[in-house]
């Protein structure tokens, strides 16, 4: 049997040729191994933050203090936000599947700068360690919320400084990932693969990489200014010293709003892979999906002001930002119609990846459309900083990005490990997650609409029923998550061998000589003279001889 990238010795290392398997993993420059290591780390952080979330829900089970005091609660939601945003979802899909799958999809042997990729991973780990170190140093973890709004973040005596430094380092890691992917996509596509022959996941990663590259430096330098402000007190964001705290909000959201598109665009890419594969039909409107990714990235850069409708901004600026925000819904809508049109008259196969993708269509549409309601200035004044915004955000990011990340795991699991997931368990896990998720977040729309503010550890008795439904939803949701991950680990060991193309998919990552793939991917680089999703009568059109990578159809 041929060797796979997971076997001992089957890797290139950044430094030397270590004999020990442990060092082979620590020093590996192989994009697939680096992706797996990212997955291991980010999901560890994910579960930590999930249980911090559960702690908050227990606290909120009844009015008044239950298990946390107010200050600890502030630290809890900050820690939840910092971990989920900076350590989990921003690296998220690009770091995991951008690394593992993207080079395979374009027929490359690795990313353009493999050693930089290795360095980036450890830079990320370094940043994560700085963030965690602030839990045990100074006056405890920051209590500002993950947004670090000035002037409170400048005046609080908790350990904001360390968290700011950590966010800066993590931002650098994100920039370098984006840079690496951009060069890879520009330079290493197989001969014949023009931009409009790339799989749509690659388009998602490409648009994301531009956001990582152009937006992250802005927040990076903003954090540096905040750090200098805290150390030397020059007053840059402090209104008591002539500075302007709203300027901090602007600079922060110039990055952090595009950052949500940075999260969702590769997720949409996963959706665009799964829908045609499990409908056994060529994707509808390939170019419109590809270009809508690019235009979401572009327009998304110009909408940050909608976070500041209540912070003091001219009415003209508010109106412009409001309209620009509506515009983002157009390319997003185009994608959804394209996906639905792809499924129309397709031979839909309801395997677990498709189930997750369809579930996401429901949750993301709720998340996306409620987003349009708070892009309106009038309703936003009412809903700003309420549970409505919290529910909107989690429907869009958890029910959109993370659900599609899960869909991606179900889809590419056979590719990564050469084993099939246990489908029965996977489907059961999906339904538990889906029901728990909606029970957890939907009541918050109602509570928020009626005035429940976010980030409060206490509340009026009339909101209790919503918090309690949420709590039970959270318990169901977390059980579903644990069951799903149990299924992953069990199937890694005991799953049926998958073969190279279990889903009858068409893109290049399913045309590898073995599963899991060997160290340097395809046996030979193919010449690409076909579109990424060519199906005829429910069967893939393009077939390869995996030894020569010549087409045999």
């Amino acid at each position: 049997m041929s060797k796979s990238y997971l076997d001992a010795g089957e890797t290139h290392c950044a430094i030397g040729h270590p004999k020990s398997v442990f060092w082979q993993w620590m020093l590996t420059v192989d994009h697939k191994r680096i992706g797996l290591m990212y997955a291991a780390v980010i999901f560890t952080f994910f579960f930590v933050a999930v249980f911090i979330g559960l702690t908050m829900r227990i606290e909120l089970f009844a009015p008044g203090a239950q298990i946390l005091d107010g200050d600890t609660f502030n630290q809890a939601f900050t820690l939840h936000g910092v971990i989920m945003i900076f350590l989990f979802i921003i690296p998220g899909i690009p770091a995991v599947f951008g690394n593992i799958v993207m080079p395979l999809m374009i027929g490359a042997k690795d990313v353009s700068f493999p050693r930089l990729n290795w360095f980036t991973f450890w830079l990320y780990i370094f940043g994560a360690l700085i963030a965690l170190s602030s839990l045990w140093t100074g006056n405890g973890f920051a209590d500002t919320g993950w947004t670090f709004y000035a002037p409170y973040s400048l005046n609080t005596n908790t350990n904001v400084l360390t968290t700011l430094v950590a966010a800066f380092v993590l931002g650098m890691a994100s920039i370098l990932t984006g840079l690496n992917f951009l060069v890879t996509i520009h330079r290493l596509r197989a001969p014949g693969m023009g931009f409009f022959k790339m799989p749509l996941f690659v388009w998602g990663i490409y648009a994301t990489a531009w956001i990582q590259l152009l937006a992250t430096p802005v927040v990076g330098i903003t954090l540096v200014l905040a750090i200098l402000e805290k150390v030397f007190g020059i007053g840059i964001f402090d209104p008591a010293k002539g500075g302007d705290p709203v300027l901090f909000e602007h600079l922060f959201w110039i990055y952090s709003h595009p950052a949500v598109y940075l999260m969702i665009l590769p997720a949409f890419g996963i959706m665009s892979e799964i829908i045609p594969t499990f409908s056994r039909r060529e994707i509808f409107g390939y170019r419109t999906i590809a270009l809508s990714s690019a235009s979401i990235a572009g327009i998304g850069y110009l909408v940050w002001g909608h976070h500041l409708f209540t912070s003091g901004m001219s009415d003209l600026a508010k109106t412009i930002f409001s309209f620009l925000t509506f515009f983002v819904a157009i390319p997003t809508g185009i994608k959804f119609y394209d996906w639905v049109a792809t499924m129309y008259k397709g031979k839909i196969v309801l395997d677990s990846p498709m189930l997750w993708a369809l579930g996401t269509m429901v949750t993301f549409i709720i998340g996306g459309l409620t987003g349009v309601t708070i892009a309106m200035i009038g309703s936003d004044i009412h809903l700003q900083d309420t549970y409505y915004s919290v529910a909107h955000f989690h429907y869009a990011i958890l029910g959109g990005v993370v659900f599609l990340l899960f869909a991606g795991i179900h889809y590419w699991f056979p590719l990564m490990f050469g084993k099939m997931l246990n489908e029965k368990r996977a489907k059961l896990a999906f339904w538990i997650n889906f029901i728990g998720f909606n029970m957890l977040w939907f009541p918050m729309f109602i509570a928020g609409y009626q005035g429940m503010p976010r980030r409060y550890f206490d509340y009026l008795p009339e909101f209790q029923i919503y918090h309690q439904i949420s709590f039970f939803g959270a318990v169901i949701f977390i059980s579903g998550l644990l069951y799903m991950f149990y299924n992953f680990f069990d199937s890694m060991k005991n799953g049926e061998p998958s073969g190279t193309n279990p889903w009858n998919a068409t893109t290049l990552e399913w045309h590898l000589p073995s599963s899991p793939p060997p160290l340097e991917n395809h046996t030979k680089v193919p010449y690409v003279d076909f579109n990424p999703y060519e199906y005829k009568h429910g069967q893939p059109v393009v077939k390869f001889d995996y030894e020569t990578m010549q087409r045999i159809d």
Binding site: L182, L228, I234, G235, I236, K524
Partner: protein, 239 residues
């Protein structure tokens, strides 16, 4: 950007289309254009970073117009101007060195790198003189004059101005120091034969970096030194 060293020369793979045409496959190894593109993208992040700081500066200039001009008039335009000339000449020597390398004159290229490094040190030295002068006048990050609310403190707008001045020139100086380190590394690579007239991507990228460093200064200089230069009585209170 980094290039993996292999004992043997990298041979690109060939992909064959169905009609038998052969296409050379671009690998990540020895990708000159990819290395260039990567570094240009990195330069773009630097532009965004300094750009955000100029945005902050411009905004506060509009808020504290007179304070900014008042504070700027304290600066020694002669030293700042000399530094601008020094840095522009260093950009010239850097560029000439790259041309010499391309044309096979390794010795000339090395001389030019040394010249660039000497100019970079000269820049840092002059900057050091300026900062020391400021420090003795009581103007430095953390000193009383720049602590809002302190009895000796300057007006708020001036504190912001000097705060941004030390932040931006400090960050720029940091880039100069990194640049000197890069040039030392480049010399080492040239001596080891790893950078040669046929393989000079590292040199190209370091020259590109140096261009950005001097370009940032070309904007920093007028914004801090020139807005308060000369007779300022006419521009104050006119806002």
């Amino acid at each position: 950007m980094s290039h993996e060293e292999h004992g043997h020369e990298y041979v690109p793979e060939i992909a064959t289309s169905r009609d038998g045409k052969q296409y050379e496959v671009q690998g990540w190894q020895g990708d000159f254009y990819g290395g260039k593109l990567g570094f240009w993208l990195f330069m773009l992040t630097e532009v965004m970073m300094f750009g955000a700081m100029f945005l902050v500066l411009t905004y506060y200039f509009s808020l504290h117009h007179d304070d900014f001009i008042e504070a700027s008039s304290d600066f020694n335009v002669f030293l700042g101007g000399t530094n601008t000339v020094v840095l522009l000449i260093s950009a010239l020597t850097m560029g000439l060195g790259l041309l010499k390398m391309k044309h096979g004159d390794i010795k000339g290229a090395k001389l030019m790198i040394y010249a660039t490094m000497i100019l970079a040190f000269a820049f840092l030295a002059i900057k050091g003189v300026e900062w020391t002068e400021d420090y003795h006048e009581g103007i430095f990050l953390g000193l009383n004059a720049l602590q809002p609310g302190h009895p000796e403190s300057k007006p708020l707008g001036e504190i912001l101005f000097f705060g941004m001045y030390f932040t931006m020139t400090g960050l720029h100086g940091f880039h100069i120091i990194i640049g000197i380190g890069l040039m030392l590394w480049l010399l080492k690579r040239i001596n080891a034969g790893k950078v040669s007239p046929h393989h000079y991507i590292l040199y190209f990228n370091i020259a590109l970096y140096w261009d950005l460093v001097h370009l940032v200064w070309v904007f920093v200089f007028p914004y801090f030194y020139m807005i308060g230069a000369g007779d300022i009585s006419g521009v104050l209170n006119g806002h």
